[in-house]
């Protein structure tokens, strides 16, 4: 099939995954109204709604797969069909499906409105998908807001819990603030170049509009907006509180997929609209990456709550990923995509075990709750150990391959200082990830804390075990996915990067 975007119908075809998912979200919402007539604690209805939502994600995935077969003529900018979009969609859809799959017991026990929760996750996913697929700053902003508004509600979703409400409010205020930066940045860029389409901005700059103060100010504000959304130091202040206070399924989803979407969009904007301003934004991105890696890892060392530790760890991973943007070559873009996929699986998986240990609530997230877990639930403890080792980037896991790939991207642009910082940050992260492992395996369970067997339905166990298998498989045979990521990154890299320009410190 060929799309040339002459007729408006072609846009519908190009947007099919998003359209299917939006429609499905409405269906889930309606089904939620019918199903939960005051019986929130019925596990069957939660499961039913969950599987309905997952089937929507699968349907969107099928559509996404079909888009690979489409020939595209011309350069549509409102919505594009390229490798970056299609590959990122797998990350978002997979992250959403995994999150829903492991959330059933939590939703049941916390008496959350399953229909609304899953609808919001689907709508948030739609926002991400459009965000990764557009080459237009205004559409990007609309998509980002769709995603963010859903995420604000997800953070404050457990309204009976004060911490969740606080997280929601905090996220809303700071998120709105950062959206303001972003929008102001878009306005200034439009003022300087007269367009909001990324390729046209690049053309205008190439034709001589570069380096005006207006444009640089716009770019700076855009960068601040994205740095807030990704949670990069020093714009990360909201992240630990929000991630800790939000209901754990929301945290899992936000720390993986929302971060992924913001990073992909950030990468696309910088590489497609501002390639000629590389010398201007490269040092900023460099410092953001360096600061994020150092600060997030150091603070994570001191955390005693595993949930908060994972929050800081996710900030640190954002820093690692930013290295790929600073490197700005095709290998780095491919490594970002590969990393995001692996990171989503391992991070959501880790939060899944966190939910089980926390008894699907928020009171047992401290590291001491993990004492003796290895003896009580050896399989889940092994699974969690695999997730932790993968987050730490240990050989034999997908996280290792992702880090190696990222380092290769950095090496191609001669970013050796960042590469060494990544290595040192990883050493620090070994400590805080292993801390959980040593509580699980090396400390006896506390006396007087004798809880019964942990509650994890078979679907949740199966999802976690499957995720661990995927992580190990990618750690041993990453070849296929590597090539997929490499193909998706085609054309998304600069020729003149830090290495060739002699910028790298």
């Amino acid at each position: 099939m060929t799309l040339d975007f002459v007729s408006g119908l072609d846009l519908v075809w190009a947007l099919l995954p998003e359209i299917v998912l939006s429609a499905w979200a409405m269906a889930v919402l309606l089904a939620g109204v019918w199903k939960t007539g005051g019986s929130e604690d019925e596990p069957e209805s939660v499961r039913g709604l969950g599987w309905l939502a997952i089937s929507g994600l699968v349907a969107a995935g099928v559509m996404n797969g079909l888009l690979y077969r489409v020939n595209v003529l011309g350069q549509p900018t409102m919505i594009t069909i390229d490798g970056l979009r299609l590959f990122s969609n797998w990350v978002f859809l997979g992250g959403a499906a995994l999150t829903i799959l492991i959330s059933f017991p939590y939703v049941t026990r916390q008496r959350l409105q399953a229909g609304e929760l899953y609808t919001l996750i689907l709508l948030c996913t739609v926002g991400m998908m459009v965000m990764a697929g557009t080459k237009n700053l205004l559409v990007l902003f609309l998509a980002l807001e769709t995603m963010s508004v859903a995420a604000y509600v997800l953070a404050g979703f457990n309204r009976r819990d004060r911490r969740s409400a606080e997280a929601g409010l905090k996220y809303l205020i700071l998120g709105a603030f950062s959206s303001g930066f972003l929008l102001y940045g878009i306005a200034l860029v439009w003022g300087a170049t007269g367009t909001v389409s990324l390729p046209q901005i690049a053309e205008t700059i190439e034709a001589g509009a570069g380096f005006t103060r207006l444009l640089l100010a716009g770019l700076g504000l855009l960068g601040i907006g994205f740095a807030f959304k990704v949670g990069l130091v020093p714009f990360h202040m909201w992240a630990p509180d929000v991630y800790e206070g939000a209901p754990t399924p929301s945290t899992a989803f936000m720390s993986a997929a929302v971060k992924a979407a913001s990073l992909v969009a950030f990468l696309r904007v910088l590489l497609e609209a501002f390639p000629d301003l590389y010398v201007s934004w490269y040092p900023v991105v460099w410092w953001l990456a360096a600061l994020t890696i150092v600060v997030a890892n150091l603070i994570a060392l001191t955390q005693s709550s595993v949930k908060r530790m994972l929050a800081y760890s996710s900030i640190a991973h954002g820093g690692y990923l930013l290295i790929a943007i600073a490197a700005a070559n095709e290998v780095a873009t491919a490594s970002l995509l590969f990393y995001l996929l692996v990171y989503t699986v391992m991070n959501v998986g880790a939060f899944g075990v966190l939910m089980i240990v926390g008894d699907h609530g928020e009171d047992r997230n401290g590291v001491e709750s993990y004492a003796g877990f290895g003896g009580k639930e050896p399989v889940l403890a092994v699974v969690f150990t695999i997730f932790l080792l993968s987050l730490a980037g240990f050989p034999g896991t997908g996280g290792f391959m992702a880090k190696i790939y990222l380092l290769q991207g950095a090496a191609d642009s001669r970013l050796w200082t960042l590469a060494v910082l990544l290595a040192l940050g990883t050493v620090a992260s070994y400590y805080y990830y292993l801390k959980v492992a040593w509580y699980m395996w090396m400390k006896p369970a506390r006396t007087g804390d004798a809880t019964g067997p942990v509650w994890a339905p078979p679907s949740m166990r199966a999802a976690l075990i499957a995720s661990a298998v995927v992580i190990v498989y990618l750690g041993v045979f990453p070849g296929g996915l590597l090539e997929g990521a490499r193909a998706a990154a085609e054309g998304l890299g600069l020729i003149a990067t830090a290495g060739t320009l002699g910028l790298a410190p």
Partner: protein, 507 residues
């Protein structure tokens, strides 16, 4: 024997089997009955040892430098190869591993009482990791296995260790990881340089050997590699993780750590750090630094060992001293020195492994390792006393034991080029008797004045089986080392010649 090896086409599958069968063993241990875990694990490791003996005949001392070579693409996009092969150096490291593992497992039958399945699974995982380190010819593959050995060792120390086990396990893990992650960045730098020079992306050792590097680059990269390996060795002053890890580790953990894991450091120096960066490795400052640290390690560790009240800690410090001999032997960069270093590696593996096993046996009987708590054991446990005396003498390098051959050759090699260092290092041999013999005296001979010590059982049949082969090797290597030296020599000569050419000079 050679006919049998050819008939089975042993050369084509031996390394793969040695590498991966432990993982199959791991699965059977986990699936098998709980009270049989130790027997299953021992069966696998003993079988693997028998299997590995074939390497002795399959390896032709007059043949190619690297033999039993296999090369399959693993991650094509990056040029990573599943490339295995052994030379005369790796051969003995693998044999040492396959010998030590069953003995360590057999030696833990009484010591490990809880979570047995997990313990033996970790031991077998460790074996895969170690064999991978010694058999890998691809730097990426090597790195994966090098790091992989950390996880089982972390759990072995952390779960089955003594009181401060978590501290020791984490310290061990972080120290080693710090070095190896910086080395990883170095590996990537080297890979990139080789890719730009050859036009082919590859992590294979032969491809990386050709990377053009300036002296400054070589020095930086050598520093990254040498740091990783020196922490593992451990070289003074990076050795502080070792006494903690050894004291807290369960006996089999200590045995494997001392006998094999430390050798991964010196092996890495010989196999990678020196040949890859020859101009850095022969740089006068680098050589002086490494020799000085080695010599300081020898003397300092001997002094520290002499005042340890805890027998296990004493043995731990002797490891630092012995590995110092290996390092000076290596950095003398003479055939004798390198060969001596390798023999010390084998000898130290055998004798220190045996010392840890014996100290563990004492601990099982008396639940203490304080030297002062023992005395007069020779009367009640003559077999154990004999074993301990022979082991101690081999450890301090008495002529006629394996320790002597290695230390003598290493010192000879150093003396050929750096007489001053050799003289100072030789004092370490004297200090060795100063720490070891009083310990033997206090434990075995003094008066049998404590009633508890009268109850000490002599070695059981199982323990004799554990110690016997090690004692045999100590003496055999000391009396007739020629077959070993002959197999090592081509590989050693190749390293020395390659390095003396230098990379910059060759262009």
């Amino acid at each position: 024997m050679s006919g049998l090896i050819d008939g089975l086409s042993y050369e084509s599958w031996a390394l793969h089997a040695l590498l991966w069968l432990p993982l199959l063993g791991l699965v059977t241990v986990l699936l098998g009955p709980k009270d049989r875990a130790k027997h299953i694990a021992f069966g696998w490791s003993a079988g693997l040892f028998v299997l590995s003996l074939g390497l002795w005949w399959a390896f032709d001392p007059a043949g190619d430098l690297f033999q039993l070579v296999h090369d399959v693409e693993w991650i094509g996009a990056w040029g990573v190869h599943y490339a295995l092969g052994i030379d005369g150096i790796a051969l003995f490291m693998i044999l040492l591993t396959t010998l030590t593992m069953p003995l360590a497992i057999l030696g833990s039958f009484e010591y490990i009482r809880e979570r047995e399945k997990a313990f033996y699974a970790m031991m077998l995982l460790l074996q895969t990791g170690i064999i991978g380190v010694f058999a890998a010819m691809d730097l990426f593959l090597f790195y994966v296995f090098f790091e992989l050995t950390l996880v089982p060792m972390y759990f072995i120390v952390g779960i089955w260790g003594g009181e401060r086990r978590i501290y020791a396990a984490v310290k061990f893990f972080l120290y080693t990881a710090l070095g190896s992650l910086l080395m990883l960045v170095g590996i990537l730098y080297l890979y990139l340089a080789a890719r730009e020079a050859n036009g082919v992306a590859s992590f294979h050792l032969t491809a990386l050997l050709g990377a053009p590097l300036s002296l400054e680059e070589q020095l930086w990269l050598f520093a990254a590699f040498a740091l990783a390996f020196s922490i593992k060795v451990p070289l003074f002053p990076l050795h502080t993780w070792l006494p903690d890890a050894h004291v807290e580790a369960p006996t089999p953990g200590s045995v494997v750590l001392a006998a094999i894991l430390l050798k991964m450091g010196t092996y890495g120096l010989i196999r990678f750090a020196i040949p890859l960066f020859p101009d850095a490795a022969t740089h006068p400052t680098v050589v002086a630094l490494m020799l000085s640290l080695g010599v300081i390690g020898i003397v300092y560790a001997a002094w520290v060992a002499a005042v340890q009240p805890d027998a296990k800690k004493l043995v731990a410090y002797t490891s630092v001293a012995h590995m110092g001999f290996v390092v000076i032997g290596i950095f003398a960069l003479t055939v004798n020195g390198l060969q001596g270093g390798l023999v010390v590696m084998i000898s130290h593996g055998v004798s220190t492994g045996a010392l840890f096993l014996l100290v563990g046996m004492l601990y099982e009987r008396r639940h203490t390792r304080e030297i002062a708590d023992f005395g007069g054991l020779a009367k009640v446990a003559p077999l154990m006393a004999t074993a301990l005396v022979i082991t101690a003498l081999a450890s301090i390098g008495l002529p006629g034991t394996s320790g002597f051959v290695g230390e003598f050759l290493a010192l000879l090699g150093v003396f050929e080029r750096f007489p001053t260092f050799a003289v100072v290092a030789t004092t370490g041999v004297i200090f060795a008797s100063y720490y070891m013999l009083p310990m033997i005296q206090k434990v075995l001979f003094n008066r049998l004045d404590r009633p508890e010590n009268r109850q000490v059982r002599d070695l059981s049949a199982r323990e004799l089986v554990v110690i016997g082969p090690l004692l045999f090797l100590m003496v055999a290597l000391g009396v007739y080392p020629a077959p070993v030296l002959e197999r090592m020599e081509p590989a050693v000569r190749a390293v020395v010649e390659y390095v003396s050419d230098g990379r910059l000079g060759a262009e």
